[in-house]
Symmetry: D2
C-alpha cells in the first residue's frame, strides 16, 4: 500500500544535505497526504544542520512550515469551523501537534507550547518515521494535525513568504499589546522582524522603527510598514539608542521587540524603550549566549515589562492565514522570498540562508 517519495535530508550534523527515498505509509482514518508546493528554509534548519538542537533523530527531513495540495485523504477531515476538506485543496498546517491535552502545561498553565509531548514536523521526527517534513515531494498529515485552507485569493507565495516568521511575529505582537498611536522599535530585519514591522503597523502603531542590516533589508522593511529604519553598520549601539530616542520624543519607544537573536539586542531594547514601556523578546530561539543587563537602570528604575515569547499554537496559525489573506495585496510578504530551490538544491538553499545572503529561501520539491 505504501510507496516511495524523494526527500532532502540532513543525515547527521554538518553532513551535506542528501536526497533520500522515504516510504509513505498507508493512511489511517483522519490522515491525508499533501503534494508539497513550498516548504521554508528557516534559521531553525541551520541550527539543525549544526546539531544545536538536542534530541533530534538524524537523519531527518527538515521543513516545518509548508504549503501543499491535498492529494489523498481518509476523511472526512474538517477544519475548526467544521467545514470538510477536499482533495485538491491548497492548505498549510500547524507543524506542532500531539500536544497531550493531559499535562500541567496543557491544562493548568494553558501553554501548550510547553507541553513536553508535543511533536514538530521537520524537527522532532527522523526520516524513518515517514514523510514528516516539508523538504519532500509529499507530506504525511497524521490524524489530528490541524490543516488550514488557504482562502481564495491568498497565493501560496504570499502565505509562505510570511510563513514561520509571520506566525512568530503575530505571537510577539500579541504579547506586545500595542495600542493605537504607540511607537514600536523592532530590533532585527530578518523574516520575523519584517513581519513584526508589518503587524505593528496594522495594529495602529504610529512609528515603527526597524533596526538591522543590510540596506536592502531595511528598504524592504520600509515597504513592509517601517516608518524609519536604522542601519547596524552606520553607528554604534549608543548612537542607535540616541536615534530611537530622537524619533520618540526623547523618551524612547513605547514598545521594543527584539527579533534578532543577538544577545546585545536585549540590552539595546531595554535602553530604547521608554520608562514604563514593554519589551518583547522573541529572537532567541536557540542558545546565542548571554548578555549583561543592568537591573537598576534597565529594569527597576525604568519600571518596564519584559516578555518572552515561545512558540506558537493553532490560534496564531489560524489568524496568520486570515491576516495574510486580508492584507496580502498591500503588504509584500511574497517579496520576502529571495529564491526558490528545487529538492536537489536544498543543500545550496541551506548554505545561502546560513550565509545570510538572502532573507528567505524556499524549497519547491515538485519543481
Amino acid at each position: 500500500m505504501s510507496h516511495l517519495i524523494r526527500a532532502a535530508a540532513i543525515t547527521s550534523p554538518h553532513a551535506p544535505v542528501e536526497i533520500i527515498e522515504i516510504a509513505v505509509p498507508a493512511l489511517e482514518p483522519g490522515a491525508a497526504l499533501l503534494r508539497t508546493v513550498f516548504s521554508e528554509v528557516c534559521g531553525t534548519d541551520v541550527h539543525l544542520h549544526h546539531g544545536r538542537l538536542g534530541g533530534v533523530p538524524y537523519p531527518l527531513v527538515p521543513g516545518h512550515v509548508s504549503v501543499g495540495r491535498i492529494e489523498t485523504m481518509r476523511g472526512p477531515i474538517t477544519d475548526v469551523e467544521g467545514r470538510v476538506f477536499h482533495e485538491g485543496d491548497m492548505v498549510t498546517f500547524l507543524d506542532v501537534h500531539e500536544t497531550c491535552g493531559a499535562c500541567y502545561q496543557c491544562l493548568v498553565a494553558k501553554q501548550t507550547t510547553r507541553c513536553p509531548k508535543r511533536k514538530v514536523y521537520g524537527i522532532t521526527y527522523g526520516a524513518a518515521d515517514g514523510p514528516l517534513g516539508g523538504w519532500a515531494e509529499q507530506i504525511w498529515i497524521k490524524p489530528g494535525v490541524k490543516l488550514i485552507r488557504l482562502p481564495d485569493g491568498l497565493a501560496p507565495e504570499t502565505f509562505i513568504g510570511g510563513g514561520c516568521g509571520l506566525v512568530t511575529a503575530l505571537h510577539a505582537v500579541d504579547r506586545a499589546e500595542i495600542r493605537l498611536d504607540q511607537s514600536v522599535v523592532v530590533l532585527g530585519a530578518g523574516p520575523v522582524g519584517q513581519s513584526i514591522a508589518a503587524l505593528a503597523r496594522l495594529s495602529g502603531a504610529s512609528e515603527v522603527i526597524v533596526i538591522g542590516a543590510p540596506d536592502d533589508r531595511l528598504a524592504y522593511a520600509r515597504r513592509m510598514g517601517a516608518s524609519h529604519t536604522i542601519g547596524l553598520g552606520d553607528q554604534g549601539a549608543t548612537a542607535r539608542v540616541d536615534e530611537v530616542r530622537r524619533l520618540t520624543g526623547g523618551r524612547g519607544a513605547d514598545v521594543a521587540i527584539e527579533a534578532s537573536g543577538a544577545p546585545d539586542a536585549v540590552s539595546d531594547a531595554l535602553d530604547m524603550v521608554r520608562d514604563g514601556g514593554r519589551v518583547v523578546i522573541c529572537g532567541h530561539y536557540t542558545d546565542n549566549g548571554t548578555v549583561q543587563v543592568h537591573p537598576h537602570y534597565q529594569i527597576n528604575r525604568k519600571h518596564v515589562e519584559i516578555r518572552g515569547v515561545w512558540g506558537c499554537d493553532y490560534s496564531h496559525f489560524h489568524r496568520a492565514v486570515t491576516i495574510a489573506a486580508r492584507h496580502g495585496d498591500r503588504i509584500p510578504w511574497r517579496e520576502m522570498v529571495s529564491r526558490t530551490y528545487g529538492l536537489d538544491q536544498a543543500g545550496e538553499a541551506l548554505a545561502a540562508v546560513e550565509g545570510r545572503n538572502m532573507l528567505k529561501a524556499l524549497i519547491a520539491p515538485n519543481g
Copy 2:
C-alpha cells in the same frame, strides 16, 4: 514667627552625622507641622551617606517615611475622603510630592513616579529648605503634601515597622498579580522582602518561599508568612534553585520577586520561576552593578514576564496604612524594628543599618 528645632543631618558624603538647628518657617495656608514620633533609617539613607544619589543638596536631613502628631496647622486640611484633620492626630504622609500633574509622565503615561518635578522628603531637599526630613523634632508638611491618619488601633510602631518597605512591597505585590493558590519565591529577607512575604500570603499564595540571611531574619520571615525559607549560607545558587523547584512540583514558582538588590538574584529569580511565570524586580533601587542573563534559556524559551517596580504613589501609601491597620495584630510588623535611637544617636543608627546588623532602625527625635 519662625523657630528653631534640632535635626540630624548628613552634611556631606561620608561625613559623620551631625546635629544641626533648622528654622521652621511660618506656615502658609494648607501647611502643618508634625511633632515627629518615629522616622525610619532606610537603606536609601546609607546610599545618601555614601553620595551615591545624584543631585542631592547636602547638608540634608534624612528620613522619608515618618510618623508624627499634628502640632499646628493652617487648615482646613482634609484627607482623600474629605475628612478634616485636627491637631493631635497621629499621621503619616506620602514623602513624594509636587508631582506636577502637567507633564507627559503624569498625564499621558500616568506614572507619577517618573515625573521629573517630584520632590521627596528626606532626599531631594537640603537642610536650608527647612525641616523636610524626619530625623528632626518637627516636620514641615507643605501645602498639598498628602497626610494620612493612622486609624484607631494602628499603633505607630506597627505602621513604621512596615514603613517604606511595606509600601514598596505592596507595589511589588500589585505588579506580581498573585492569584489564589500560586507559589511565590521572594529573594531577599530585608524589610521589603519581609513585607512581600506577608502580603503574598495575604493575597492567597499557597507557598511563600523566602531566601535570605542570616537565620534570625529567616525565622522572622516565617512569622511574617513564609511557608519555607532557604538560607544563603547553606548552599550555592544552583542548590537554591533546585530547592525551589522541589518545593514547587519540579516546575519552579509561579511568581518570583527579587527584593535583595543583589544583581545575581535577578538571574536566580529567572531560574526559579516556572515557564510562563512572572518575575518582579524591586530590589535594585540604586546601582549595584550588572548581571549576566541568558535570553534563550531564561526569557525566550521560558515565556516569562519580568516587571520592574519603581517608586510608589499615594494609592500604595493609602492602602498600606489600611492593610497595616487590618492585619497588624496577626502580622508582626512591629518586630521589624530592631532598635529605636534618639536624635543624637542617628549616626550610630545609620552605621548599624549599613553594617546589616539589624533589620530596621528608627529615629525617635523627641525621645
Copy 3:
C-alpha cells in the same frame, strides 16, 4: 464481562426519582471504575428534574461532581503531573470531558467551556449510556476523563462540601481579579456564594459582605469568611444598597459578585459596586428571566466592568482540590453538607434541595 449496578434515575421531567439497574461495560484501556463515596445534589439537578435543560436524554442518572475510590482500572492512568493512579485511590474527576480540541472554541477562542462537543457526567448522558452520573454505586470513568487524587489530609467530606460550588466560585473569583484590601459584596448565600466568600477572603479582600437568607446561611457565611452579612428579609433592595455603601466608605464595593440566580441581583450588584468597579455574574446558570438595567446610571457613567462566568475547566478543578486541601482545616466546607442520603432516598434529597430547606445534600450510594 459487564455487571449490573444500582442507580437513582430521573426517568422523565417531573417524574419521581426511581432506582434502576445499569449495566457497567467492560473497561477499555484508560478507563476506570469508581466505587462512589459521595455525589452532590445540585441546583442543576433540580433543573433537570423540571426539564429545564434542553437536549437531555431521559432517563438519566444525575450527579456531576462526585468523589469515589478507584475500584478497578485498565491503566496505566496518570494525573497531570504524570503520577500513576492506583486502585483504592480516593479521587474526584472533571465532569466536563470530550471537549474536542479541534474547534474554534477550543483552539482559537481558547474557551473549552463553550466547545459544542463537550460531554458532562450526570447531565448529557442517558442511563442507557452506562453509569455516567454519580447517583450510582459505581461510576464509569471513560478514557481521557481527568481524575484528580484527593491529597492526604483532605477528607472527602471537605472536598464535596465545597464541590461544584467551590469550583464555580474559584472561576468567579479568578474573573473578579480581587486585589489586596479590596471590598467584595457577594449576592447569594447558596453553595456558590458561600465558597466565593471564603475565596474572596483568602484572596486578600478586606470586607466581604454576603447578602442572602435565611439567617443560618448568613451565620455560616460568617464562619466561611464574610466580614458582614445582610439579610434579605430585613429590608428592601434600596436599603441593602445603602448598607453596602455605608460599609464601603460611601462609594460602593470594589467588586460585586452575583451568585444568587435572581435577576434583580444583577441590577443590585450594579448599584452596589463603586464607580470603576467590577461586577461578576455567575448565578444565572439557567433561564431565570430578565432584569431591567439602566445603561446610563448603572454602566456608562459608572465606568464599570461586568463579566459573565460560564462553566469550569480542568484548571479550576485542579486548583479547587489544592485549595480545599490547604485551607480545609480553617474553612468549614464540610459544614456545607446539611444531610447525606442513601441511594433509595435520592428523590427525598432532590425535593429538599428544591425546597431550599438545606444548603447542600449528598448522595452516598454505597451507604
Copy 4:
C-alpha cells in the same frame, strides 16, 4: 482691563439661544485668551437645552470642544513636553479641568473622570463666570487648563471634525482592547460611532460593521473605515443580529461597541457579540431609560465582558490630536462637519443637531 465679547447663550432650559455680552477678565499668570476658530454643537448641548443635566448654572455659553488661536497670554505656558506656547498658535484644550488631585477618585481609584470637583468648559459654568464656553468670540483659558497645539499639517477642520466624538471614541476603543484581525460591530452612526469605526480599523480590526441610519451616514461610515454597514430601517433587531452573525462566521463579533444612546442597542450588542467577547457601552451619556437584559443568555452563559466608558482625560485628548494629525489625510474626519454656522445662527445649529438633520454642526464665532 477687561473687555466685552459676544457669545451665544442658553439662558434657561427650552429658551431660544440668545446673543449676550460677556466680560473677559484680566488674565492671571498662566492664563490665556483664545480667538475662537470653531466650537462644536454636540448632543450634550441638546441635553443642556432641554435641562436634562443637573446642577447647570443657566444662562450658560455652550461649547466644550473648540479650536482657537492664542490671542494673548500671561505666560510662560508649556505643553506636556515642556514646549512653550506662543501667541498665534492654533490650539485645542481639554475641556475637563480642575480635577482636584487630592480625592479618592484622583489618587486611589485613579479615575479623574469621576473626580467630584472637576469643571467642564461649556457645561458647568454660567455666563457670569466669564467666557468659559466655545460659542463665544474668545475663550478664557484658566491657569492649569491643558492646551494642546495642533501640529503643522493638521487642519482645524480635521481635528474639530473628529472633535469630542473622536476623543470619546478613542477611550472606547482603548477599553475594547481590539486585537489584530478581530471583528468589531459598532452600534450607532453618529459622531462617536463614526470615529470608533475609523479607530477600530486603524487598530487592526478585520471586519468593522456599523449599524445606523440614515443611508448617507452609512455611506460616510464606509469612507471612515467600515467594511460593512447595516441600516436600521431595513429590518428588525433580530434580522440585524442574524446579519452580524452571518458576517462573523456564525459566532458573532469579537467586540461590540454601543455608541447610539438607544437602550435597546445594549441588548442588541449582547446578542451580536460572540461567546467570550467584549461589549463596550459608551453611548449612554445621559438618561435614555432602561433596557431588559437576560442574565442567563446574554451574560452568564456567553461569558462576556461588558465595559462602561465614562468621560476622557488628558491622555485621550493628547493622543486624539496625534492620531488626527497622522491619519487625517486618509480618514475624512472633516467631512463629519455638515455645516458651519455663525454665532448669530447658533440656535439654528442647535435645532439642526437636535433634529438629527446633520451629523455635526460647528459654530465659527468669528465668521
